[in-house]
């Protein structure tokens, strides 16, 4: 009886995973780290549009190049604006003091953002900027209210407005309305953000590219070992009655 309770409780543990952040519904995103092309596209977006303000200060350029199949020459030629050496960490272009002056806060390091806030949060955040004249930057975000970050991909996505409704006395987000369109269609922008999220998941944990494969081999080996150990045990225990 007690044994059963424990087993049921143990099995339900992963399902009860501790939720992070607020109660807004986040969009699910399909992460596929084996899709190298997607990771490369995400890397390009990240380096071109985000590194100006944010760091990914635990990651090195050459490591990224190696993992994503981009040669050192290509990385040096096309992606190395913010650093001198290919072995450097990915530091922001804008010095922290300047950023603090401009935005009132230092843009946080993004290396681990998908590990702390989750890929869904990031994916939804990047698609939830809206026009808000009352804020300092002219932008706001439903996932991160009063965010100090402007919508830097505005020229791609265009401008959207958020419609709020009353719900049990509180103002809650209802839906977006398209204002002006950007250079990308909605599908293309969504795909681009999915690639970016994919890259951010890689950035959070490069070992993810290999650990599933290695884990599979290890477990296969252990299963064979278990079989042998079982036979050994059976042989010895034959004479115990």
């Amino acid at each position: 009886m007690i044994k059963k309770i424990i087993i049921v409780l143990l099995l339900s543990v992963p399902a009860l995973g501790l939720a992070a952040g607020n109660n807004l519904k986040l969009d699910s995103v399909d992460i596929d780290l084996s899709d190298k092309a997607s990771l490369q596209r995400g890397a390009r977006t990240f380096i071109n549009y985000c590194l100006s303000c944010h760091s990914a200060g635990y990651m090195r350029y050459n490591r990224m190049g190696k993992d994503l199949g981009i040669s050192d020459e290509l990385v040096s030629g096309n992606l190395l604006f913010a650093a001198d050496k290919i072995g450097d960490l990915m530091k922001a272009v804008m010095p922290a003091e300047d950023a603090k002056k401009a935005f009132g806060t230092v843009p946080p390091d993004l290396t681990l953002v998908t590990r702390s806030r989750g890929p869904e949060w990031f994916y939804t955040y990047m698609r939830s900027f809206y026009r808000d004249e009352s804020s300092a930057s002219g932008w706001n975000n439903v996932v991160f209210p009063d965010v100090a970050m402007p919508h830097v991909l505005y020229s791609w996505q265009g401008e959207q407005r958020a419609i709020f409704k009353e719900h049990e006395g509180r103002r809650v987000f209802d839906r977006f309305e398209v204002g002006s369109s950007g250079s990308m269609s909605e599908e293309v922008y969504t795909d681009t953000m999915r690639d970016l999220t994919n890259f951010m998941v890689y950035l959070g944990e490069p070992a993810k590219l290999v650990r599933y494969r290695i884990g599979t081999y290890v477990i296969i080996f252990l299963l064979i070992f278990l079989f042998v150990a079982y036979l050994l045990k059976k042989e010895f225990w034959k004479d115990v009655h």
């Binding site: 992963p14 501790l18 635990y58 390091d109 070992a207 650990r211 884990g215 252990l222 010895f236």
Partner: protein, 453 residues
């Protein structure tokens, strides 16, 4: 070749008791033949201890115990150190598995009465190991210097501040600063990688010495040493080696499969083994929305948080009820008097001391009561197999309370949650406090002569 080997063994044996130790503790150490799967967890705890020490040594080669570098050095291990991610996940997964294994090991002791004579000291050494392990894990958790590391340590150490007069001084003494800071990180590192592992290894040795002196209990809770054959060997005993060595190897491999499955596929286990907020560096200005310890501490954390002003009234009730029950039950007049005095002191203290301090006291007591088990249990039998419905019911309620408290410890302390945690806390303690009564009145089954299958 064979001869050379034998000769060198003899040479050593003349100077060091190799054969004697081998025989006494393995080849001629007789263990009951009816062990079930719950008896694997002791060996598994040893396996994990080795895993933690070895992975810990490799982490220490690259980790930097400096408030400005610690977080980055862990990410450096995860990315730039060859196989560093594996070593780090081995250690973080190992910490949680250590507690799973140890909890199962203790649960086994609980249901088969392994804490009863002649194994009281073995049980006590085990409890000291458990408390040390908790300190080890608590200090290890500060080292990655994530935001939850920081705030978790902040909350727990500030608890010492609740102690009257010396509290603030003590908290400051532990931290080495007014807040958790570089000094705290440095001393926790020293304790985590050197002092406490040494103590743990020493205690584990003492644990095994005590075990081999009295011999193992078994799922039937009868002493195999009371039934020896003409050769002086317990009839229900089999030599540990080779029987249990091969069986334990099998169990270890099975365990490693589960371990590898978590380590390689879900090392965070949805935030249960590595918390999301700990992927942000420690930030003095940014308190996490909910400060929650890792799962293995949450039952005690729940007890701490459940102790509000309301709980003090519940404690009055429990104290008075327990005092009356004791006074009625004991015969000796001095014992009656002592009970009244103790109850009076507790009632006065409940009036004077703040609820926060009582939270700390109850949290500490929730561990300390385990030390009393050998003397609280009055049943003529040890194993749950021969006990009656009272013990079984009490145990079930206790286990359920433990899990409920554990779960609530991960949740926000809202009004309802705190109420449930209060009930859970009372039930948790009643399992121990009422034990002398329900184990006395419980109807037990007759014990078998020999161990059963």
């Amino acid at each position: 070749m064979q001869k050379l080997l034998e000769q060198s063994l003899d040479w050593v044996d003349a100077r060091y008791p190799v054969k004697k130790v081998w025989d006494e503790h393995l080849a001629k150490y007789y263990a009951p033949k009816n062990f079930n799967f719950l008896y694997y967890f002791g060996s598994l705890a040893l396996v994990i201890l080795v895993i933690q020490i070895v992975s810990g040594i490799f982490l220490t080669m690259h980790y930097k115990p400096d408030a400005n570098m610690a977080f980055a050095s862990v990410e450096y291990i995860m990315r730039d150190v060859e196989w560093g991610w594996l070593i780090r996940y081995m250690h973080s997964t190992g910490a949680s598995f250590f507690f799973i294994v140890v909890y199962m090991h203790m649960y086994r002791g609980l249901i088969y009465g392994s804490y009863r004579g002649p194994r009281e000291l073995l049980w006590i050494v085990g409890m000291v190991i458990f408390v040390t392990l908790m300190a080890e894990a608590f200090m290890g958790y500060l080292l990655p210097w994530g935001n939850m590391s920081y705030w978790g340590a902040q909350v727990i150490i500030s608890l010492f501040g609740a102690i009257p007069f010396i509290g603030d001084w003590l908290a400051e003494f532990i931290r080495g600063d007014f807040v958790i800071a570089d000094a705290t990180l440095n001393r926790f590192f020293a304790l985590h990688v050197a002092a406490l592992p040494l103590v743990l290894v020493g205690l584990v040795f003492a644990h095994l010495v005590a075990l081999h002196k009295v011999g193992s209990n078994n799922p039937d809770g009868i002493e195999i040493k009371q039934n020896k054959g003409p050769d002086g060997i317990p009839v229900d005993g089999i030599p540990f080696h080779p029987y249990y060595t091969v069986k334990d190897i099998m169990a270890t491999v099975f365990f490693l499969i589960l371990f590898a499955a978590v380590m390689f596929f879900v090392p965070e286990l949805g935030g249960w083994f590595l918390e999301h907020d700990n992927f942000m560096p420690a930030n003095v200005l940014q308190t996490p929305p909910e400060i929650v310890p890792l799962w293995y501490f949450t039952p005690y954390y729940s007890i701490l948080r459940a102790t509000t002003t309301d709980m003090i009234y519940v404690l009055y009730g429990v104290t008075v009820a327990m005092a009356i029950l004791t006074v009625i039950s004991v015969k000796d007049i001095r014992a009656k008097g002592a009970t009244v005095v103790v109850a009076a002191v507790v009632l006065v203290a409940l009036n004077i001391l703040q609820p926060k301090l009582w939270g700390v006291i109850l949290m500490g007591s929730s561990l300390m009561v385990f030390f009393g088990l050998p003397w609280l249990d009055r049943s003529p039998v040890k194993s749950i197999r021969y006990r009656g419905w009272m013990f079984k019911t009490a145990l079930t309620i206790f286990i359920v309370s433990f899990f409920v408290l554990g779960f609530l410890g991960t949740q926000p302390a809202t009004g309802l949650n705190t109420r449930i945690a209060m009930v859970g806390t009372v039930l948790y303690f009643l399992f121990f406090l009422l034990m002398p009564w329900y184990t006395t009145f419980d109807k037990t089954k007759p014990l078998p002569e020999r161990v059963t299958e």
